[in-house]
């Protein structure tokens, strides 16, 4: 930590020094690492190591067949040509047993998470924490009073070994995101490892959020965690995921899957702060199905990765169900981030509200992509999409591609998008009040991001503002 407090001497160093908060890496010595690329043997080995039920192995093998047969997405947004799947290791295990006490976590991993502030956050404001290191969860803990209410927060691997939970996993796993949805979904199901299983019983409201933190330490590896959350009727959960990885020169791949089941009258808020390193291909799939009178809220901050394809999807199936999506994406040098969301309004009187911001700088490319689909039976459905993009220089790019398909005559859909820069007048005004130009620009960008940061728990809002500051400082000097 000592180098982080050093006074930055020149501009290039500011970036490096502050980045060290995320960029430190630990040795992989002694880890179990499977061969690069993908084969039936690897898939079988993963399944065997996890001692899975037969249906899971069959699902993996079916997914592998689908993966081999499906084409890479053609003609889609940012190029993923650099991603050579034959040189990505799909499974890297830190050779440790999952710990339920922080003291039992191996020292190097413990240091990693301590530097990321995980145990600290747990003590202060979380109902439970899971931490994944490469392919396996290394730490899992939940407050006793939450467990006493029947809340289950564990890994899918553990749930599969629990005779009471295994049928639940079997019932829901892979039903929302099909293994043939796209090539990376197929890849995910073939080699998935780690992630979370959360079950909130009927009527239970969690006082604090649950959090999972994903850390990909190994280079040239992939992380394929699966998150399965079931929120029963009248229950209420806030789930937070954080992601980071150190910087390597080889490509890393994140192809996780998140399946969320929000039952009638339930509420789920799913917050993500993603700060993968800039060699990461983040091709993540998230989907939620929402019952009658239920609410799904997404809060998403995307700062890292080299290329992202990320479009959380919400299916508003129940009458009067609603969805809110609040997101921000910051694309800097070498980043090409294709993000957005999809909402399908099928139930009557459903409502969806999408509010996104994007910031492009230093040659970064942002693409906001969304689809709002209103089905024939969605009487009186209402949807609004608002996206604002900020261009910080003339070498960056920002595209807005929102699609709408409305099939119900009584539905109303509104959309607005703006792209622009920070006005000279604003900067001049702030500078006339004594701010440096750098401070003025950071202030404006933070203000721009405010609608997102105010949706986050305090410590994450601070983290996000720090990330913005970090990104901004690189540009100003």
């Amino acid at each position: 930590m000592s180098d982080a407090t050093e006074t930055p001497r020149k501009r290039a160093q500011v970036d490096d020094i502050n980045r060290s908060l995320y960029d430190f890496r630990m040795s992989e010595e002694g880890y179990e690492r499977y061969e690069d690329g993908l084969s039936t043997d690897i898939v079988r080995a993963i399944s065997e190591r996890k001692d899975e039920p037969r249906w899971m192995l069959e699902l993996r093998l079916e997914a592998l067949a689908a993966y081999e047969e499906m084409a890479m997405p053609a003609n889609w947004g940012p190029s993923i040509e650099m991603l050579d799947l034959d040189h990505i290791s799909t499974y890297v295990s830190p050779q440790t047993k999952q710990a339920n006490s922080w003291d039992d976590v191996p020292d190097d991993i413990k240091r990693t998470f301590e530097r990321l502030g995980i145990p600290e956050a747990e003590r202060e404001s979380l109902a439970g924490v899971g931490a994944q290191y490469d392919s396996e969860i290394v730490y899992h803990n939940m407050r006793k009073e939450v467990a006493d209410q029947g809340v289950i927060y564990t890994t899918i691997e553990d749930a599969l070994h629990d005779p009471e939970l295994e049928p639940i996993v079997h019932e829901y796993f892979g039903t929302l995101i099909g293994l043939r949805d796209h090539k990376f979904a197929a890849l995910h199901y073939a080699v998935w490892s780690g992630g979370s299983f959360v079950y909130v019983p009927e009527g239970v409201t969690l006082p604090y959020p649950l959090q999972s933190y994903f850390r990909l330490n190994a280079q040239g590896a992939g992380q394929f965690e699966h998150t399965l959350i079931i929120v029963e009727p009248h229950a209420d959960l806030h789930f937070i995921e954080g992601c980071s990885a150190p910087k390597y020169y080889e490509a890393n791949l994140h192809a996780g899957a998140v399946e969320l089941f929000v039952k009638d009258h339930a509420k789920l808020r799913y917050s993500t702060i993603e700060n993968w390193s800039k060699n990461m291909f983040n091709l993540n799939t998230k989907r939620s199905t929402v019952g009658a009178d239920a609410t799904m809220e997404w809060v998403s901050g995307s700062f890292g990765s080299h290329v992202s394809y990320l479009y959380p999807a919400t299916l508003l199936q129940g009458a009067r169900s609603s969805c809110e999506f609040t997101g921000i994406t910051f694309a800097g040098a070498t980043q090409d981030l294709d993000t957005g969301c999809k909402v399908v309004l099928n139930g009557p009187d459903t409502t969806a509200s999408v509010d996104t911001k994007s910031i492009s700088k230093d040659g970064g490319v942002n693409t906001f992509r969304s689809s709002i689909v209103v089905g024939r039976r969605a009487d009186r459905a209402r949807a609004s999409v608002s996206c604002a993009s900020l261009m910080l220089d003339d070498i960056s790019r920002s595209d807005t591609i929102p699609a709408m398909d409305v099939r119900n005559g009584s539905a109303s859909v509104g959309h607005e998008a703006t792209i622009g820069r920070i006005s000279d007048d604003t900067i001049l005004y702030l500078m006339s009040r004594g701010c440096s130009e750098g401070e003025a620009r950071t202030m404006v960008v933070n203000g721009f991001a405010d609608p997102v940061s105010k949706e986050l728990p305090m410590e994450y809002a601070i983290e996000m503002n720090n990330l913005i500051k970090l990104e901004m400082e690189g540009a100003i000097g």
């Binding site: 920002s398 591609i401 699609a403 709408m404 398909d405 005559g409 009584s410 703006t418």
Partner: protein, 369 residues
């Protein structure tokens, strides 16, 4: 040019698979990325002579290269008009497309520096399989061009209408586009604002009813500095109409101080409507402003309250909006033939009494239209 004999095995129809492809695309499963049309195979094959100056081949038309090639071939002949520099052409240049005899028109207009011209295209009638109009306009420095594009086809008519515009420095294009009828209508429009301070104002209106299909692709390339594009689209979808509207504002690198805006308002009165919209802003420059707004659904509560206070309930208000569309088209159709086509289409959609009233209130009966 030699007309070639049609070989016996030549297919009667051709599939144009990629019509109206927008510059940036989205998920294929949404079926919004293109349109596929079956059109009659032109009566000759082989080399086609360039009938318009080569200059026009470079003008992008929004409808896509395949459709443009098909239209050129199917037209068989082309009309080229040059408006001399600084000439103020008072008489509108009129392109009449008689859809009932499946006419296909290919027109190129070169508006020289500082000249003014008004161009009107109007497709009307029905029962003639596929008709089409291809209009390419090159507006030189400081030229002023007004384009009124009317598609007022009837019945089962399939129609393709493409407009390509290239605008040099200071050129100004005002365009009104009316899609009033036809069972399957594809409208492609691309305006290349190549010169600094060139400008496009587009007012597009449509009314689609029955099971008709309207497929639109509007593309504005803003390449020049301080270019401006203002697109306003208003439409009504009734019955089981199907509409796809793609609007792209492309703020190209170097287009400093450019501003582009698009607004679409859709009034849906039918229960089985399919209404797709893809409003895209591409931005590769910092000092620009791009905006888009869309509102899809019923008449706004404020408008409904205001119109209610003047005696109109919701269904009367909806009828007013439909009539107003034809009124507006008739008001802005600067030639008698086009106006007559609008009123003829109004008679089909609104009934003969209302159509007559539209003509009489606007005084066209007295002007001898």
């Amino acid at each position: 040019m030699m007309a070639q004999t049609i070989s016996a095995d030549q297919a009667d129809t051709t599939i144009l698979a990629h019509v109206n492809v927008p510059p940036a695309q989205t998920w294929n499963y949404l079926r919004i990325n293109d349109l596929s049309l079956e059109v009659p195979t032109p009566y000759f094959a082989g080399d086609v002579h360039a009938r318009l100056p080569r200059l026009f081949e470079r003008v992008e038309c929004g409808i896509g290269a395949d459709a443009v090639t098909w239209m050129c071939r199917a037209a068989g002949d082309a009309r080229y008009v040059e408006v001399r520099a600084d000439d103020e052409r008072a008489e509108p240049l009129y392109v009449d497309v008689d859809a009932s005899s499946a006419e296909v028109r290919d027109t190129g207009v070169l508006v020289r520096a500082g000249a003014r011209a008004t161009i009107v295209t109007c497709a009307h009638g029905g029962g003639g399989d596929t008709s089409a109009s291809l209009l390419r306009v090159i507006a030189e420095r400081d030229a002023r061009v007004t384009i009124v594009e009317i598609v007022a086809c009837e019945g089962t008519q399939q129609h393709l209408d493409a407009v390509g515009i290239s605008a040099a420095e200071g050129a100004r294009v005002e365009m009104r586009q009316y899609a009033l009828g036809g069972s399957k209508v594809a409208l492609g429009l691309c305006c290349d604002l190549a010169g600094a301070s060139s400008r496009l104002e587009l007012d597009a209106r449509y009314l689609v009813g029955g099971t008709d299909v309207l497929d639109v692709n509007h593309v504005v390339r803003q390449r020049g500095r301080a270019t401006r594009a203002d697109i306003v689209t208003t439409g009504i979808l009734a019955d089981a109409a199907r509409k796809t509207m793609r609007e792209t504002i492309d703020l190209v690198h170097g287009a400093k101080h450019a501003e582009g805006s698009e607004i679409e308002t859709v009034l849906v009165t039918g229960d089985d409507v399919v209404n797709k919209t893809l409003p895209v802003i591409l931005c590769d420059e910092e000092d620009v402003a791009g905006s888009h707004g869309a509102s899809i659904g019923a008449i706004s509560p404020e408008q409904l309250a205001f119109l209610g206070a003047r005696g109109l309930d919701e269904s009367a208000a909806e009828r007013l909006f439909a009539r107003a569309l034809f009124d507006d088209a008739a008001i802005h159709a600067p030639v008698d033939e086009a106006r007559a086509a609008v009123l003829a289409r109004a008679a089909t959609v609104l009934g003969a009494d209302v159509a007559r009233d539209v003509g009489e209130v606007l005084g066209f009966d007295q002007r001898g239209a």
